[in-house]
């Protein structure tokens, strides 16, 4: 076979362009977003967050990237959807009014439909095409198209038409997201992955030892590099965010500034000047060895310098910590009252690991402390696997900026995290 050199040959070597989802962390993992102008399949079991993922993609597209979108729902009505996401601050009716969004609820009742001979789904194409044209949509969501299989009897027509639909979406150049229910042994119940071959994202919601964790994984992304790990993600009052903890580099700055440990003799032992600012200190020892006391000294010293401190405690209430430390002559209450010290107490089993991490992130972002204490970090092992704790906590201490010094201390079990 001969390959002719066309004049435009070199200019054809272009990187796949991306359509950002605006979902915190996801675009980072996906190298910028979803493949622009192509369909992406998002699959997972019931309640795993598919619809919210899809809605976020459209709402962010409309509000932040000037890309209007069409949401074609095969399950929930437009009103139901709007209500479900209103608590996240997504104003669907407002976007519809501004012609940034079209919500079309495709209702199919098997009972009402009699099938009499040959047909195709051109009606669906016309409907979708009209919705796209009415607002100049650049994004389309089909949620969950598999519901069609329950509504129509002739599966072979349906399969042929879906194949044509995905081809048609591609030809229209819209960035499409198709959601599918996870099947037994297949990614989707109806094998939609056969038709959507550009990018496949799997969402998972699992409960291990009664603690729930949500995970996201990019199974396939044709023409693009992407993170292949399973990333924890969470859904809270701010919407959906992915925590690409395992993809964070080791390129943070290292300060050579030293800060006091709060214990003069320990400062002496550490070259006379204490810990490096921005470093992570692991304090390990059995129960009663004095780990919490060492941390209290460190907090006290930082507050005396006028620096802000955050303490995450997992086994005691703030009042307990304050009372206990008073017995060794440290008054933490006055720092709390002056707004320099803030305690965040939560039982480890209250949330999964990523929820703990996210709350820490938020607290740190809001309070902007220069010292953070986790007491004891080993408590988190009770809610997650050791590898998860290592993966989650290690970068957490790196991303908050080089000015943070956080001694992490733990109890009872020896544990050696790679980079703490």
């Amino acid at each position: 076979m001969a390959i002719a050199e066309t004049p435009g040959h070199h200019s054809r070597i272009v990187q796949l362009s991306k359509s950002p989802t605006g979902i915190d962390g996801f675009d980072q993992v996906a190298g910028g977003g979803l493949p622009a102008g192509r369909p992406t399949l998002v699959c997972g079991g019931a309640g795993c967050g598919k619809t919210l993922f899809a809605i976020s993609f459209l709402v962010h597209g409309a509000t932040r990237f000037d890309e209007p979108g069409v949401f074609m729902s095969f399950d929930e009505s437009g009103d139901e959807l709007a209500q479900n996401v209103a608590s996240l601050g997504f104003d669907l009716p407002g976007l519809v009014e501004k012609k940034k969004l079209v919500l079309d609820h495709v209702k199919i009742e098997r009972r009402e439909i009699e099938e009499t001979g040959d047909y195709d789904l051109e009606g669906l194409f016309v409907r979708l095409g009209y919705a796209i044209d009415s607002i100049g949509a650049r994004r389309v969501v089909l949620d969950t198209i598999e519901s069609l299989f329950a509504g129509l009897a002739n599966q072979s027509i349906l399969r042929a038409e879906l194949r044509r639909l995905f081809r048609w979406l591609k030809d229209r150049g819209v960035t499409a997201m198709i959601t599918g229910e996870r099947g037994e042994g297949t990614l989707t119940r109806q094998g939609l992955e056969e038709y959507v071959s550009d990018a496949v994202i799997v969402l998972d919601h699992r409960v291990t030892e009664q603690i729930s964790t949500r995970r996201l994984r990019i199974v396939k992304y044709r023409g693009s590099a992407h993170g292949t790990n399973e990333y924890p993600f969470l859904i809270d009052e701010d919407g959906l965010s992915v925590l690409p903890v395992t993809s964070i580099g080791l390129t943070h700055d290292a300060s050579s500034e030293r800060i006091s440990t709060g214990v003069a003799r320990l400062d002496m032992m550490l070259g006379g000047r204490g810990y490096f600012r921005g470093s992570t200190i692991l304090v390990s020892g059995t129960a009663g060895a004095g780990k919490s006391s060492l941390a209290a000294h460190f907090l006290d010293a930082a507050c005396r310098r006028g620096e802000r401190c955050l303490a995450f405690v997992f086994e005691e209430s703030p009042q307990q910590v304050v009372r206990n430390m008073r017995s060794i002559g440290i008054d933490l209450q006055r720092w709390v009252e002056r707004g320099l010290l803030e305690f965040h107490a939560a039982r480890p089993s209250l949330h999964g690991l990523e929820m703990h991490l996210s709350r820490m992130h938020r607290a740190i972002d809001r309070f902007q402390p220069s010292v953070v204490v986790l007491d004891p970090v080993s408590s988190l092992l009770r809610v997650a696997q050791q590898t998860d704790v290592q993966a989650t906590l290690t970068p957490a201490s790196r991303t908050a900026g080089p000015s943070t010094s956080r001694p992490t201390w733990r109890s009872r079990r020896s544990w050696t995290p790679g980079s703490c």
Binding site: E114, G117, D118, Y119, L121, F125, V126, R127
Partner: protein, 97 residues
């Protein structure tokens, strides 16, 4: 056209362009109506290529789709209407066997 009585079937046939399938569906429908509903039907043909905005209102997905708007309940019959028996069942002209 006669004023529709309570008995009259108000039928809408949705098609997408003059395809062989839509022509066949219309011919089948016309024949069924002439054979079973003489003088008691109205047929309106809607071409979605010309009126795409009408697809969502009647929940059209497949074409051809025959919608019986009256009498209630609304019925949807999809396909080229070549299975006469099923069309008759769908229009409540013949009870389901």
């Amino acid at each position: 056209m006669a004023v529709p009585s309570a008995e009259t079937q108000i039928l809408r046939l949705y098609i997408a362009g003059q395809t062989p399938r839509s022509i066949k569906a219309f011919a089948n429908l016309k024949k069924i109506c002439e054979d079973h509903l003489i003088g008691k039907y109205q047929i309106e043909v809607i071409d979605l290529i010309q009126n795409p905005q009408l697809a969502a209102g009647d929940q059209i997905l497949a074409v051809p789709t025959l919608v019986r708007r009256l009498p209630e309940p609304v019925r949807r019959i999809i396909g080229d209407l070549s299975h006469t028996d099923r069309v008759l069942v769908g229009l409540d002209i013949r009870p389901a066997s």
